[in-house]
Symmetry: C2
Subunit: 244 residues, 2 copies
């Protein structure tokens, strides 16, 4: 491919920027199987010649593909096609309220409980806080139209969100509120199947024999515990879905 870039030549219409064309070129090679996992691909200087661009432009293209985990690069050695990610699925769990609204339905919620507690020994270890530290506790049911689809049982660190008990949960979900007071969260999650206890079943208006999809999430902001949410979804009327 002599490839005279054909990029801004003549009076041709707009074309993607050069770095994008190089990205597309590499993507096509990988997708077509011409370059396979582990293969050494052309050097930056070689691609500079091929595309008639400067090294910074090639570098940007390859760097972005590396950030996307499609390539791996080694100083002094070269650029290689990365190990495929074994069809790992990236799932995005969004705010329940946002999710419902995007389906064109109405979100509402009911606060079942709102108080404060002291951290137990077990909680202190799990959340990396001091035993006896003040925690706020909320239990809220979320409705899609008139149907309960999530019971959100949440513990919040009082220092991270001092105003937690005074919020208006009709206007803002705990999720949305916490994103404001504790940005850039990190943490862990699990998704599993559980049977609801009597209170959960009653709040969600399901039989105690109805298994639930339960997501548990512990979040930290600035390396300090922020919140632990346990979200119960009736298995007969809720599933996680998405694209990747």
């Amino acid at each position: 491919m002599p490839a005279p870039r054909a990029i801004t030549t003549g009076t041709a219409k707009e074309s993607p920027p050069a770095y994008q064309q190089i990205k597309n070129f590499v993507l096509e090679k990988i997708q077509s199987g011409a370059w396979k996992e582990g293969d050494l691909i052309p050097t930056e200087l070689a691609l500079c010649e091929t595309f008639k661009v400067s090294r910074m432009t090639v570098n940007r293209a390859l760097r972005e593909l590396t950030a996307d985990q499609l390539l791996v690069r080694y100083k002094g050695s070269g650029t290689y096609v990365a190990q495929p990610k074994f069809q790992s699925t990236l799932i995005e769990i969004r705010s329940i309220a946002q999710d419902i609204r995007e389906r064109g339905h109405r979100h509402s919620s009911k606060v079942l409980l709102l108080d404060s507690v002291r951290a137990s020994e077990l909680q202190a270890r799990r959340y990396r806080i001091a035993p006896g530290a003040l925690l706020f506790h909320s239990v809220i049911v979320h409705y899609e139209n008139e149907t309960a689809i999530q019971l959100e049982d949440r513990l919040v660190d009082a220092q991270a969100a001092p105003g937690y008990l005074e919020q208006d949960w009709a206007a803002l979900t705990p999720n949305e509120y916490l994103m404001r007071v504790a940005p850039l969260p990190t943490g862990q999650y699990s998704i599993e199947v559980k049977l609801p206890n009597r209170e959960v079943a009653a709040a969600l208006d399901i039989a105690p024999t109805q298994p639930c999809l339960v997501m548990d999430r512990v979040t930290f902001s600035k390396n300090a515990f922020t919140s632990n949410a346990t979200m119960w979804h009736p298995g007969n009327r809720y599933k996680f879905t998405g694209r990747y």
Copy 2:
């Protein structure tokens, strides 16, 4: 080069590259709340002065933060702190075999069924293929040590993976095989709770009353249907976990 950058001054030890220091600076401003959602942040030229670096260096820092969805940028206008992503959780579901091995356990599998079928009208619509197209069908149980933890019921497009029926599934999982013949997959998934039918329950060695965590995934490569996998996990001995 006048500009002694203040960054690598003196005989100080290694310091992160300039673009990373700028990223850290911006991250700290956001995390501390000094810059809030929607705020206009300093221009590239202003940051060039502050950090005594060239514009390309500042541009790289801000561009990467924009790719991470922490900033939004508008030509002619400026750079703003992005809307927070409402604690949306990115979940990575990996290859079952890889998952098991990383826990330090032994993965094995048993092929229960391997044959070919013709696409029904319903499948043809869902997969965007011709009715009657040739599909391969496999049912495989995956074991962690000696315990069944996943039943993988999979349909594969015969054109996308012609050699599917001849693979050695002890050496390579279908997932791993498909990543090689159909790279860069896209698609949809769902995660839900279901009761197993008699065959699934028997294969997983669970009671028919034991609810399962079921992940369904349809994948396309090069815009053509590749595979539809339905993965059943006993709810009493499996959960999805991860970090973000």
